[in-house]
Symmetry: C2
Subunit: 481 residues, 2 copies
């Protein structure tokens, strides 16, 4: 399936970020639109990134005692209606099954947009006593939210995600757990995806439909817009009361459980693209790259082909068996230059070129995808150098993204500066009085929303950036995906 598309030109990020994003997905062979509007086909290379995301997170979850399970995707319409703000939030987005098995259904079925309702109905059967708590469940599943303006990975009608759901004996335990999971996402984003993030609380109007409090992981894309990478909700007793998830306490009284839910979706691949990639193509952090190294044997004369390829194979097997890397040896019939470009577009972190002259020098040319830097490395030192280089690349991508982001968070104190900096594609740190009406007015005027009230932000006295009313804290505003 190696279609030669070296003639496809990629837009520049600066000129047309939106077209560039779509083209990266295309040239890196990650995904394409499905036949039904808003749906996405995740192609093998794109899916292998998602598999890495899933495997890493799944292990983190299990280390914390999370158990996986699977709940039906069909939810009775009546379930969704039980929690008032939940149904308000999700009703406009749901897909509805009305016919099945050749007949009209008596009760229409909702395809899960999220599974709080169907899972907590099960919890009401599973939980009786404090001894049954906590319940800590996760599922990897597809969900459906109808999208009018779909974009691959970012907003698709059907997407893949994990959704965690827990029940606890106290408010404090639930809130602690919601924050613990937020930190799992933070660690994952920073240590694996090399995406620096801001943690904080959502404003009331941005929180999950049905939550007491939504904690969020926010990241900055290269166009200065924000992307919500994951969220973790403290649901209080909002759902346990309507689904009757109650338990007998040690003191023989009874109470409703305190709940959390938390999720991360295929959207994260959109973030991965928009944080690291460049005008050549995809750039991937080594820790989630499906292929770490591509080896390109180079020859002009047919006589060199065999010995160059033999050495390349030796290098490949060494990197696989001795450092446990995922390595691709490109023995296709393309010209070397075409091969370079082919793999650069796909974001392979390291390329190793081996030609006849390299054999004589007993070395190979090693090229970094993130910086384009080339170095000659003796074959005897190759394993070690590749190993350390992958660590350097991972760290460089994070550092570069962090510096980029930090330069684009602007602390502003006047409305004029607010507008100027938002237009310039920055994150804004500004005072906000806490009033919903002001939040709405800012959104209307600038398309900027409150991304979060950051945990790291200390109390400080000031005046709301728009209303001038007293404010005790700065919050982060940005335009967002």
């Amino acid at each position: 399936m190696k279609n030669l598309d070296s003639d496809k030109k990629i837009s520049s990020r600066d000129e047309n970020f939106s077209a560039w994003y779509q083209e990266i997905i295309d040239v890196a062979d990650l995904a394409e639109h499905g036949p039904v509007k808003g749906t996405m086909i995740i192609k093998p290379y794109g899916y292998s990134i998602w598999e890495n995301v899933r495997n890493i997170l799944d292990k983190e979850f299990k280390d914390l005692g999370v158990q996986n399970a699977y709940f039906p995707m069909f939810i009775p319409e009546s379930f969704l209606k039980k929690e008032e703000s939940h149904v308000e939030g999700f009703s406009p987005e749901v897909a509805v099954v009305t016919y099945a098995g050749g007949k009209k259904l008596q009760e229409a079925l909702i395809i899960r947009p999220t599974s709080e309702t169907i899972i907590y109905d099960a919890f009401s059967r599973w939980v009786n006593s404090y001894r049954d708590l906590p319940v800590v469940i996760n599922q990897w599943a597809n969900v459906v939210r109808w999208e009018l303006r779909p974009r691959l990975f970012l907003r698709t009608t059907e997407f893949l995600w994990q959704e965690g759901h827990t029940a606890h004996a106290t408010y404090e335990e639930a809130d602690d757990f919601a924050r613990t999971m937020l930190n799992v996402y933070k660690k994952f984003a920073e240590d694996y995806l090399a995406i620096p993030v801001i943690l904080g609380v959502k404003s009331d109007s941005e929180k999950f439909a049905g939550a007491v409090q939504t904690y969020t992981v926010e990241a900055m894309m290269q166009d200065g817009k924000a992307l919500q990478c994951a969220t973790s909700h403290n649901l209080g007793q909002n759902f346990s009361k309507v689904f009757n998830v109650s338990f007998n306490k040690e003191d023989s009284t009874s109470d409703y459980v305190w709940q959390t839910s938390w999720g991360l979706s295929t959207r994260i691949i959109g973030a991965l693209i928009m944080v690291h990639s460049d005008d050549i193509g995809l750039v991937l952090p080594p820790k989630v790259a499906p292929i770490h190294v591509v080896i390109v044997p180079v020859w002009n004369k047919e006589v060199d082909k065999e010995r160059v390829t033999a050495k390349a194979l030796e290098v490949k097997n060494d990197l696989i068996s001795k450092i446990g890397l995922s390595v691709n040896l490109d023995t296709s019939d393309l010209h070397a230059g075409e091969k370079y470009y082919y793999w650069e577009k796909r974001g392979i972190p390291i390329r190793i070129e081996i030609g006849p002259r390299d054999l004589e020098n007993e070395s190979a040319v090693v090229v970094r995808r993130d910086t384009g830097t080339k170095e000659n490395i003796k074959f005897t030192l190759l394993n070690e150098r590749v190993k350390s280089l992958l660590i350097e690349i991972q760290s460089n991508l994070y550092g570069r993204a962090l510096e980029f982001r930090n330069n684009k968070i602007k602390e502003v104190n006047t409305w004029k500066d607010f507008v100027k900096e938002i237009e310039a594609g920055n994150f804004i740190s500004a005072h906000w009085s806490g009033e919903k009406t002001t939040e709405e007015e800012i959104k209307e005027k600038t398309k900027a929303t409150i991304r979060c009230i950051p945990f790291s932000e200390k109390e400080s006295e000031g005046k709301c950036i728009l209303s001038g009313k007293p404010s005790h804290k700065r919050v982060i505003f940005a335009r967002a995906y």
Copy 2:
């Protein structure tokens, strides 16, 4: 979530196999019915078995070069209608989305009952040249087939599975590949699930809707009924012609690709239960058991509790770190006997009991779930004995199932014997002339279907068991799930 249900009585397999099956699922905490009829909630313990199935098979697939991808679950109604026998086969079972995003849809959407149509539509874009072949794709997904008589794991409206889809340049290559995948399933069933299977070809009336030929993996349950564990289809050019998946050959002519599809679903957990479990509860082969060993510390006096538990913990850590097992130490407040029963019902292959006297003897009591056999093993020998015992259990389960099955395959030559042996819950090996009308008549008269024309069956001259017409081969008849 450890509900004490030791008072729940399990039916005996001999008296009521169907009730017994349902009760095993219940007491082993594997699954329960969802709120929408026919749907299933796979509980954490049941799901962890499915995770093992998935991880093992996924590795086998990848070793063969299979790539995972993900395709939308929404299929335009028009797609399903393109392949005539395919639409006939699946139309009665599909669930249909007619409303989404608050509006009636212009074209109704089918929720995938299987993904040939949507995947081959993508293949028509991906395949141009012989250089693009073979395409070898798999997806792990949920599918929906409306069930009027649902049974947990065996027939549920929504189920989980993997479906592989390939495209090849020649008929032979496709047929070879379909058979290769059949053998992957056979190996998995026999080596991991300890289920002996019969491989063969389906009769025309039992084959997949749209296939040229369906290869099948058939197993016998403890009630003598058959369960189809997995299938692999040679699709010929049936789909490539209607979805226009064509390619340019090396000789510059063009042709449609030759295709296969192959799948295994959560149904396999139903087989696992019905082949190995007993009147106490679930029995699991070690290679797919989520927990290999449960350790139960036993004490009467509080003073013994600490030292017994300390030793149990030491044993646990040893088994985990030195043999890489999954081990559970039961430190709950239940009585030892209750703990034994609790874990027996869940099919843990080995139980280790450690009490004060065992400490003095420097040994533990080791109990096999499959046979109930107990032995005293010195602590110094425990690791090695547990390791070898797991191999013995795995092998014993397979051997026992094989013997059971072989005793219940009856070669018959008269219609009277056919009826008698089918009523007695056996598989039948009998001559069949190849006529569809005879096959239908046999099904009407006895509820037995042709499970397969076994690969292992040699040609032999005989007379059709019902019609008396000349036949060249015996086939396997059975009642089936």
